[in-house]
């Protein structure tokens, strides 16, 4: 059996068709798009085509609203730093507790510089409270940044509604959509979203290429100044091969968006149901009825995620975990903590994330392996005895914590 890759929210395999369109830009059309000779001849056209392919996938009104960057993180930083630089009198930022570190770490740093950061909490299913969001909006807020979909649970936030509310209050709205783009349909021209970040490597393009969508007319200050590339909004010689690759990947994503929401979703659902039926004491985290079609995050109680991953890896299955151990940090994932998942479960969360390259056959293979993996580790766990958790687990085992 070949290895099974179920970690597509971390990164994806580059599509063959994407690699194919990229190669000529390394070997033949390697000229600088700013140059006037035949080595650069087709490059500007290639970039223009890619810009349109991205535009089409996200439903932007103009292709000039697409700015190529080096990654999702750069797009996020550019968006937020642009908003505060363009509006120096506004000293507040609204975001959520479950954003990616690309947003949270930046906000932590801005807090030290004197900004007030409103980090909206989520409920146990990972949902935001729109009423309390409305109360935060004011003319003091420079920007709202809310992710379109959460990377760990796949929970989708109502960003279109939130963007409309921000717009009505005269506040700029940014969304980190790196997990959502290509997995759910979007039509940005019908929304009030001012800025959106996406990342190539989450949708079968290479790593090192991203996009900032910038609605026409949005006040903007570049992060990188220099040459006239990207109409002066992001200086630096274009990463031509990757831009062209991202364009192709967007075209393919658009062509597969129905497949993603039917076939890929069916694989996810089958795995999820199979695990819940076969394995006692586990549960799915996040908003079950409002999720990305490819993601499931399951908490296995009384065991720890990294140990699960090591056994899965031995069986040729790749997934990821919200446990502290996998990152070397102190706490289980901030997303699990924000949802108030108990520690004994939060440390045992495993995320399976699918792509169109997976198959039902792979789902069945994982379902064969998973019960044994969990049982093996529970046999070692002080919270477990025989076929179930010890009576009153929290009472029966009370370690002295260091």
């Amino acid at each position: 059996m070949s290895d099974i890759y179920l970690d597509n929210n971390a990164t994806t395999k580059v599509d063959h068709a994407v690699v194919d369109v990229m190669i000529p830009y390394f070997l033949e059309q390697y000229g600088n798009p700013s140059s006037i000779h035949k080595f650069a001849d087709g490059v500007a056209r290639g970039i223009k085509r890619a810009r349109q392919q991205v535009q089409e996938l996200i439903g932007a009104e103009h292709d000039s609203e697409i700015i190529f960057t080096s990654c999702g993180t750069e797009s996020n930083s550019t968006a937020i730093l642009s908003a505060i630089k363009a509006q120096p009198n506004k000293k507040e930022i609204i975001t959520t507790t479950v954003e990616h570190p690309a947003i949270l770490s930046l906000c932590d740093a801005l807090e030290k510089d004197g900004y007030t950061i409103h980090r909206m909490p989520v409920d146990k299913a990972g949902r935001l409270n729109v009423e309390s969001y409305k109360k935060l909006l004011s003319d003091q807020v420079a920007i709202v940044s809310v992710m379109w979909a959460n990377n760990e649970t796949g929970t989708i936030f109502p960003v279109q509604e939130l963007a409309q509310l921000a717009h009505d209050a005269g506040v700029m709205f940014h969304t980190d959509a790196v997990q959502a783009v290509g997995k759910i349909p979007m039509m940005l021209q019908d929304t009030k979203i001012d800025m959106l970040s996406l990342s190539g490597h989450k949708l079968h393009a290479p790593k090192g290429i991203g996009v900032l969508y910038l609605r026409r007319g949005t006040r903007y200050r570049p992060l990188l100044r220099g040459g006239h590339q990207e109409r002066g909004r992001r200086a630096g010689t274009e990463n031509t091969a990757s831009i062209v690759g991202l364009g192709k990947a967007c075209e393919l994503a658009l062509a597969h968006i129905e497949y993603e929401n039917t076939q890929v979703k069916a694989m996810r659902d089958r795995l999820e149901r199979g695990i819940i039926e076969q394995i006692p004491h586990c549960f799915v985290t996040g908003d079950l009825y409002n999720r990305l079609p490819n993601t499931t995050d399951i908490a296995f109680e009384y065991i720890e995620g990294e140990a699960i991953l090591m056994l899965l890896n031995k069986a040729g299955i790749a997934a990821s975990s919200g446990s502290a151990c996998t990152s070397g940090s102190l706490e289980p994932s901030h997303v699990m903590r924000a949802m108030d998942i108990p520690y004994t479960a939060a440390h045992g969360t495993i995320r399976f994330s699918f792509s169109r390259y997976n198959s039902m056959h792979e789902v069945d293979e994982v379902l064969k392996v998973m019960p044994g993996v969990v049982a093996t580790l529970r046999k070692l766990s002080p919270y477990w005895e025989g076929d179930g958790p010890v009576v009153n687990p929290e009472q029966a085992f009370k370690p002295t914590y260091a």
Binding site: E304, G305, S323, S329, H347, T400
Partner: protein
């Protein structure tokens, strides 16, 4: 994925002594907040000889926590409890052929479970004597709590102070921003302000009297001293090191005896370089003397 040694993997995939010892008369239960790991260690101790006849573990935790628990039970079986108390967390890590710095606390947890179990056998109450914080310095495995305590206790004011007292920040230096944040926080609690330009309150050991950069003579003497202190360890492995030349901040050395041609020579040289930098507080490059010829040739050319 962590870069675990084969030994860690071996103990994780095939743990020894998993499960509770049925008629245990010593039980230790400890946890480490980092990683959320927790361990119950059960021992059967012979009341006359105080020899540990059997040991079993139950662990909620990651791969290295399970491996540390497993190897601990193997180490202590057959020991008297007095000898077992001498087992350090480093012994556990060594038996596992090393642990990543972020995972050293797993070995600490093992040792603490052992102490707790023996205290339980003797009818004593075991209290943990240290708290663990977020790992700050990955080169020397120093956590935030340790740094904070040192800053409080010793009135430290600069990153350099912290490095002198705890070693934190003395390696790759990428944690200096985090150390500054800790200084800012603690000094603010004391009603003071962190000033990155402030002179260090501490002095560097030994070479601190030297104002400004070392003279060449001082540097050579110091390098000799450090090499002298490392020599016994090298000789124990049948090798030796001699200083051939010092040019600027580059020290040319000859690895002799068993060190000569040994696969580990490069690592040993890196270790010597690290030690020299720690003691001298400046960048030193250690290069095998065989490289010197090339340099001379370049100069001649």
């Amino acid at each position: 994925m962590w870069d675990y040694s084969d030994k860690v993997k071996e103990h994780f995939f095939n743990p020894k002594n998993a499960g509770a010892v049925p008629d245990a008369n010593a039980i230790g239960e400890v946890g480490s907040i980092s990683c959320g790991d927790a361990l119950r260690l059960t021992l059967k101790v012979d009341d006359d000889s105080e020899v540990i006849l059997d040991a079993g573990f139950q662990t909620f935790g990651c791969g290295s926590a399970i491996a540390s628990s497993s190897v601990l039970t193997e180490i202590i079986k057959g020991m008297t409890i007095d000898d077992a108390l001498k087992v350090t967390n480093q012994d556990i890590a060594d038996q596992l052929e090393g642990l990543p710095p972020e995972k050293m606390h797993c070995s600490v947890m093992g040792r603490e479970a052992l102490q707790a179990a023996i205290a339980n056998y003797r009818g004593e109450e075991w209290a943990d004597d240290h708290e663990e914080g977020a790992l700050i310095c990955k080169c020397f495995a120093i956590d935030a709590v340790m740094i904070e305590e040192m800053v409080w206790a010793n009135k430290l004011r600069t990153v350099e102070d912290v490095t002198n007292f705890t070693k934190a920040g003395g390696g790759c230096a990428s944690c200096h921003e985090d150390i500054e944040a800790i200084l800012e926080k603690v000094l603010a609690e004391k009603g003071e302000k962190f000033d990155p330009e402030a002179p260090a309150v501490t002095k560097k050991p030994a070479v601190a009297e030297v104002k400004g950069p070392l003279t060449n003579l001082q540097r050579i003497k110091k390098i000799e001293e450090v090499l002298e202190s490392l020599r016994p360890a090298l000789m124990a492995d049948g090798g030796d090191v001699e200083l051939v030349e010092v040019m600027g901040n580059t020290a040319y050395v000859n690895m002799t005896g068993a060190c000569n041609g040994c696969q580990m020579a490069a690592m040993t040289i890196a270790g010597i370089q690290q030690r020299l930098m720690e003691v001298m507080g400046e960048f030193i490059k250690v290069v095998p003397a065989s490289e010197m010829k090339k340099l001379v040739n370049i100069e001649v050319a």
